[in-house]
Each structure stands twice: as structure tokens, then as C-alpha cells.
């Protein structure tokens, strides 16, 4: 075995990605292996830059809202909501209460479908395709309701600066309720199939450990952080929309009875229980939704001119299914914002891969990678266009480049 075939002693390198069946989106991993064990892990994101922020800076807020729908293929409302909230703060718009409730309903429906989608992906990464089909089959129920409310399955186009574009009328309640009841019945079955299955638990318990301290240190967000015991949820910590009126608390894996280990299993627990929580939230919102308008200004030209006059900057936040998503917008009296920056939730979670992966078996790499529910296309931002012939840029390089660009823009 002289042709570079690994023996027990010599570590060898296994590359995974940018294109690999374990990855749903491109990112590159390099693993230094010793036998089946990962000794050292490294990853390189940044394989899918799309220039979406640049596009936004040439459009007015009403147009950007639809652009934000398309930042992520799964979170159809997360980004539009965060962006709209940023613009609403700058323009000083008061969102009607009814619109706030509708926003919450759709955001929670999105959480349901996103978590079920993730559950399916996780099952597939474990080599359990049957569960994958099952999870995606039941996910269709929520997709159908989303389509029923908004008009489309993926790009909802529901959020507008200052409210929402479509109302939820009482006629629609029975269909929505039917879907929610379906999920309530289903939850026990899903918990049983995922958490009581021996083949799943031996693969997931104590794999991909992320300790409480590490999760804090790396500023993880969303279910990834909560599964490690970090009590963190924008909906609770900084209530917005209708979340302030609701009685919710962040879900920790201990809610299922066991302790908090911060392993893959706990991440499954947290996400499945959050589906149940979302069902309850939607139910409450449907019941307590106040009457009233759904838009701050239904005459769009007026809204556009109000946006055009506005000056200032703001940050809009939203607890996406994957964790906190943040949009920074600055407006300076033009149609288009002067600056628009998107921080997708996965951005905060990617670095937890390294402590999770090191020391684990190669066989568990796919499920550990998937366990933070990475959404790379939403995360990737930096692309080296021309001139600089380097793949990797340090913080100093980036700082120098941004200073140069600011100078260029200001013309000095």
C-alpha cells in the first residue's frame, strides 16, 4: 500500500465539498483523518456569492422586499420581515396590529415547514430515507397552507414595508386549523419515530457535541444554541410584531425530559418541539387577531415617497427558523438605500462546526454538518472580483479594502 493508501499511522486528507452529496449547498471541508476519526477539520465558505445586496442598493424598498424573499430558498418571510422592520424604523412607520399578527402567523408556519424540511434532511444524512420521505410528506401540509394564505409556496411575497399584502379572512380559518390539528396529531408519531428509534439514537447521542461554553463563546444562535442550553430567542428577548403579546419561552432540550448534552440528538429534540410550539402560537394568533387595516399606507406611491424622504439607519431582527437574522439598512434621501447588509442566521453558527466535528467519525460528518441547519447561500457574502489574486482574505485585507472603497465612493 504505497500509493498513498492510508495506514493507521499517517493522517490523510479527505476533502468534502464544495460539491458533495452530504452537502445541500456548496461549502468546502478538509478533514485530516486518522483511520475513521477526524483529527482536524477546516472549512471554507464563500462558494455562492450572488451579489444580492448590490442588487438591492439599486432598487427602492418596495422592490427590495421581493428581493429579500429570494435570499433564502426556505425562509421566504424571514428576510423580508427583518428588512421591512429595519425600513419601518427608519421611515418611522407604525405597523397596524392586525398586520403584526399575520406576520407572526406566517413566520411560524415557515418555522414549521423549515424544521420539518430539516428533519427530513437530517434523516437522509443518517441514511434513513424512509423518515426523510415521511418528514417531507407531512411538510407539504404546511406548504399547502402557506400557498393558500399567500398565493405561492416558496416566495410568499406577503410582507410589505408597513404591513402585509394579504389578509387572513375568517373563511380561511378552518383550512388553517385543520392543518394545525393535523400537526398536533402527528407530533407524537414524529417524536416516536425520531427519538425512540435505536438506529437514530446510537448515531445521534453524544455526536457533534457543542458545550454550553463553546456555544456562548461562538455566539451561536437559534436551535443550535438552544440545544446546548443557551437560552436565546429574539422572539422572547426582544419581542417584536405580535410576539410581545404571546406567552412563549425558548425551548431547551430538557423540555423533552432528558438533560442538556448539546449533541445532535438534542438539536432534533429542540426542532421537533419548536414545531409544536409554533402550532400553538399560530392557534393563539388566529384567535386573538385584532381587526383593522393591514397596511400602514395602502397607496404605494405615497409609501415610496415617504421612504425616499427618510434619512437614517436601523437594524431589523427576526428569529428565523435557524436563529437570529439581521438586516442593516441605511437610507439617505434617495430611492435606494445607501447601504444594505444581510446577516443570515447560519453566519453565526458555521464556526460551531469545528469543535463539533473534531474527534468525530467520518460517518457522522454529514449529520453533524446538517445539524446546525446551515443555509449557505443566504450566508455567503464575500466574493473577490478582480485585481486581488487571493482566495483567502484576512480581517486586515478586508478592512483595507473597505476603507479604499469608502474613499472611492466619497470621492476623496
Amino acid at each position: 500500500m504505497s500509493d498513498g493508501t492510508p495506514t493507521k499511522k499517517a493522517p490523510y486528507v479527505v476533502p468534502i465539498g464544495p460539491i458533495h452529496p452530504a452537502l445541500k449547498e456548496p461549502v468546502q471541508f478538509l478533514f485530516e483523518m486518522e483511520g475513521e476519526v477526524v483529527k482536524k477539520a477546516d472549512f471554507a465558505p464563500g462558494q455562492t456569492h450572488r451579489g444580492i445586496e448590490w442588487m438591492g442598493m439599486h432598487r427602492n424598498p418596495v422592490q427590495i422586499v421581493h428581493l429579500t424573499d429570494r435570499i433564502c430558498g426556505i425562509c421566504g418571510v424571514t428576510h423580508s420581515l427583518a428588512f421591512a422592520r429595519a425600513v419601518e424604523q427608519i421611515v418611522d412607520i407604525e405597523v397596524p396590529a392586525r398586520a403584526d399578527y399575520i406576520r407572526v402567523i406566517i413566520a411560524e408556519l415557515e418555522r414549521i415547514q423549515s424544521h420539518l424540511l430539516w428533519a427530513g434532511v437530517a434523516a437522509h444524512e443518517l441514511g434513513f430515507d424512509t423518515l426523510f420521505y415521511l418528514a417531507w410528506r407531512v411538510r407539504e401540509e404546511s406548504m399547502d397552507v402557506i400557498e393558500y394564505i399567500t398565493g405561492n409556496r416558496i416566495n410568499y411575497g406577503l410582507v410589505q414595508v408597513g404591513g402585509v399584502r394579504r389578509d387572513i379572512v375568517p373563511d380561511q380559518h378552518p383550512t388553517i386549523k385543520k392543518c394545525l390539528d393535523g400537526y398536533r396529531d402527528l407530533l407524537g408519531k414524529m417524536l416516536n419515530l425520531f427519538l425512540n428509534d435505536t438506529t437514530i439514537s446510537i448515531r445521534c447521542k453524544d455526536t457533534g457535541l457543542l458545550t454550553f461554553e463553546k456555544a456562548l463563546e461562538l455566539s451561536c444562535v437559534g436551535p443550535t444554541a438552544r440545544a446546548s442550553g443557551v437560552v436565546k430567542d429574539v422572539r422572547v428577548d426582544y419581542p417584536y410584531s405580535a410576539y410581545g403579546d404571546l406567552d412563549i419561552s425558548p425551548i431547551l432540550p430538557s423540555a423533552y425530559g432528558g438533560g442538556i448534552n448539546g449533541d445532535v440528538y438534542d438539536r432534533i429534540v429542540v426542532r421537533l418541539l419548536e414545531v409544536a410550539q409554533s402550532v400553538e402560537i399560530i392557534e393563539t394568533c388566529l384567535k386573538e387577531m385584532p381587526d383593522g387595516p393591514i397596511l400602514w399606507e395602502s397607496k404605494l406611491p405615497k409609501l415610496l415617497s415617504a421612504c425616499k424622504k427618510a434619512h437614517g439607519e436601523a437594524v431589523g431582527r427576526h428569529e428565523a427558523p435557524r436563529g437570529e437574522c439581521l438586516h442593516y439598512v441605511a437610507m439617505d434621501g434617495h430611492e435606494a438605500p445607501a447601504m444594505w447588509k444581510v446577516k443570515a442566521s447560519s453566519y453565526s453558527n458555521l464556526h460551531s462546526w469545528i469543535p463539533m466535528l473534531e474527534g468525530e467519525q467520518l460517518a457522522d460528518v454529514p449529520i453533524i454538518v446538517a445539524s446546525i441547519d446551515p443555509c449557505l447561500s443566504c450566508t455567503d457574502r464575500v466574493a473577490v472580483l478582480r485585481g486581488v489574486k487571493r482566495d483567502l482574505m484576512t480581517k486586515e485585507d478586508l478592512h483595507r479594502l473597505s476603507v479604499e472603497k469608502t474613499r472611492r465612493i466619497q470621492g476623496c
Binding site: P6, Y12, A123, L126, G127, R203, Q361, D364, P366
Partner: protein, 336 residues
């Protein structure tokens, strides 16, 4: 010694059986996919899908990676297919005695069963890809792992025949002629049942199916040992897989369910052969659904470490337990 005629007939029969074996093997793969799809609430591909796939694969060119060892790389699929077909020729199909029955016994079959896996290991190492290398290592490990339970089954069967005073205890023809269940008392029945269950779990491992498909592990190794194979070579592996499925089913039938329909129906001659062959394939299909399709659809993939513990500890113990029950039974029978 052998007349020309006999050799000629043997060759012709072997050729015919190989073709039947390949066709039935592919149909088995189709049935497996279809049933598995139904279990997952999908419609699934048509039964002839493996043939369509094969036709396409065989019409495509082989791509040999730059740092592969071409001779070994190309030889592996041929060896895998050839050895699976040879095993088939050692198996009794219904009431038709094995074509090569006179030239080897159960022990040889056990050795031959290992050859396709070994060919895959060689092909994997020869591919020169890290995924294939890891896959080949895993294939080797799991091969060693399931050998122990398999061996205890073979020994139990041979012991049974031997202690019942049957000549040639390792020959498949004598195993089929004397259904093992009729040779044991109640304790032995339990022992045989344990061994049957063990065999049901060894089959998916032998066929590299979920949960034991670690050598191919699509999600982490992207196909593992087979990752670099394409076109005709992959087609040959597909055929080999089909034949191997048939062989594993046939072996289970020969050891555990050797009964035939023809005595019951009072048939003789070619009619009996045909009826028994059909019955044989029906039994194989049923066994395959139970031990391959259900298991591969209902479980998640194991880590390679789990495979080793499972076979060395759990099924190793189960196999030995079954074996000792069978021995105990025959010893007790000798006393009374």
C-alpha cells in the same frame, strides 16, 4: 472419466442458468425498489427499471481515473460478476440439483461469496480516490465482521447432517434432500430459528444494503468503493449485485426452506422442474423482501464501528447460541 456429452450439457446448462440468474437478479432489484418505494408512500419505478438502467450503463463509456490502476480497476467488476454467477451454479434451484454440485460444497460457496466483496475492495483501492479507499477499508472490516455469524450457521448445518449420519454433510445436495428442521427436536428448532434470524441480518450486510452499506455510504463517501466506477463497469457491478441478491436468497432457501411443491402436486419430469423453479424464485422473493427490503427501508445507516459490534458481539453470540442449541439437541437425542 467424464464423457464429452456431460461436459457439453453442463456448459450449456451453466450458460442458461447464468442468463436466467442475471434476469431474475435484476427483477429482484426491481421488486426491491418497488416495494421499498411503496413503504415510503412513493409510487416507485416500474419493475423493469433495473433493465433500463443497465441498458443505459452498458451503452456508456468507462471512465478510468488518472491515478487508478487500470488493470485492477477494470478486472474487479468482471471478477465480482463471474464469482457471483459461479456461486449460483452451486445452488440447487428448486428440485434441480446444482449444476456444479459435484465439484464443491457449502464451504466452497462460503469462500466464493467473499470473492465479489474482495473484488470490490480491490477495485476500491485501485480507484485511487480517498472516498473509495475509505470505502474499501470499511468493506474489508464488515466482511470480516459478518463472517463469524455466517460460519456458525454453516457449522450448525453440517453438524446436524453429520450427527444424523448423512453422508457428505457439506454438500448442498444433501442439505436440500434433508430439510434441517426435520432433523432436530424442539431445542434444535429454537436454535435453528435463531440461526435463521442471524442469516436474515447477515444477508443485507453481504449485499451492502442499509443499515450495513457503510462501504458505499452515499451521504459521506458519495458511493465509496463504487465512487469512481461508471458506464460498463458499473453496469457489471449492478448485474453482480442482482445475482448476489438471488444467491443470498437461494442459499437461505436451500438451507432453511428447501421444500418443493412437485411432490405435493404429484408432478414429475420437466413439469416438476418448472414448478419447483418458480416456487423457488417465489421463496427467494419473499425472503428478500423480508430480510433486505424491510430492513433497508426501516433503519438508519450504522457506523462501521456499530457494524463490527453488531456482528462480532450480538450476532456472533446469537450464532454461537443457535449453534450450541443445535448441538445440545442432537446430543440429547443421542442420549434418549
Amino acid at each position: 472419466m467424464l464423457s464429452m456429452d456431460v461436459i457439453l450439457v453442463t456448459i450449456l446448462a451453466a450458460g442458461a442458468l447464468s442468463i436466467i440468474g442475471i434476469v431474475v437478479g435484476l427483477i429482484l432489484l426491481g421488486i426491491d425498489r418497488r416495494i421499498s418505494a411503496r413503504m415510503q408512500a412513493r409510487i416507485g419505478p416500474p419493475l423493469r427499471q433495473p433493465f433500463i438502467d443497465l441498458k443505459k450503463l452498458l451503452s456508456k463509456e468507462n471512465i478510468i481515473p488518472e491515478n487508478a490502476i487500470p488493470s485492477l480497476f477494470n478486472a474487479a467488476p468482471i471478477v465480482a460478476l463471474a464469482s457471483s454467477i459461479v456461486v449460483l451454479l452451486y445452488l440447487p434451484i428448486g428440485s434441480m440439483m446444482p449444476i456444479l454440485g459435484g465439484y464443491g460444497d457449502l464451504i466452497l460457496v462460503m469462500y466464493l461469496l467473499a470473492v465479489p466483496a474482495l473484488a470490490m475492495v480491490a477495485g476500491g483501492f485501485a480507484s485511487g480516490s480517498p472516498y473509495a479507499t475509505v470505502g474499501a477499508q470499511r468493506e474489508m472490516v464488515s466482511m470480516i465482521a459478518y463472517e463469524l455469524p455466517l460460519a456458525s450457521i454453516v457449522i450448525a448445518v453440517a453438524w446436524l447432517l453429520y450427527s444424523s449420519g448423512i453422508a457428505d454433510p457439506f454438500a448442498l445436495s444433501s442439505i436440500v434432500a434433508n430439510p434441517i428442521w426435520s432433523l432436530v427436536g424442539p431445542i434444535g428448532m429454537v436454535g435453528l430459528f435463531v440461526l435463521l434470524l442471524t442469516f436474515a441480518w447477515v444477508s443485507p450486510a453481504e449485499l451492502s444494503k442499509i443499515p450495513f452499506d457503510t462501504p458505499e455510504a452515499e451521504t459521506e463517501l458519495a458511493g465509496g468503493v463504487l465512487v469512481e466506477y461508471s458506464g460498463k463497469n458499473l453496469g457489471l457491478f449492478t448485474i453482480a449485485q442482482g445475482v448476489k441478491t438471488l444467491v443470498m436468497g437461494g442459499l437461505a432457501v436451500a438451507i432453511f426452506f428447501p421444500w418443493n411443491l412437485s411432490p405435493l402436486l404429484g408432478l414429475a419430469g420437466y413439469a416438476a422442474l418448472a414448478v419447483d423453479a418458480v416456487f423457488f424464485f417465489a421463496k427467494v422473493i419473499l425472503l428478500m423482501i423480508l430480510s433486505v427490503t424491510v430492513i433497508r427501508t426501516g433503519l438508519a445507516r450504522f457506523r462501521i464501528t456499530h457494524v463490527v459490534t453488531l456482528f462480532w458481539v450480538w450476532f456472533g453470540v446469537a450464532g454461537l447460541f443457535g449453534l450450541s442449541l443445535v448441538i445440545l439437541d442432537s446430543v440429547l437425542a443421542g442420549w434418549f
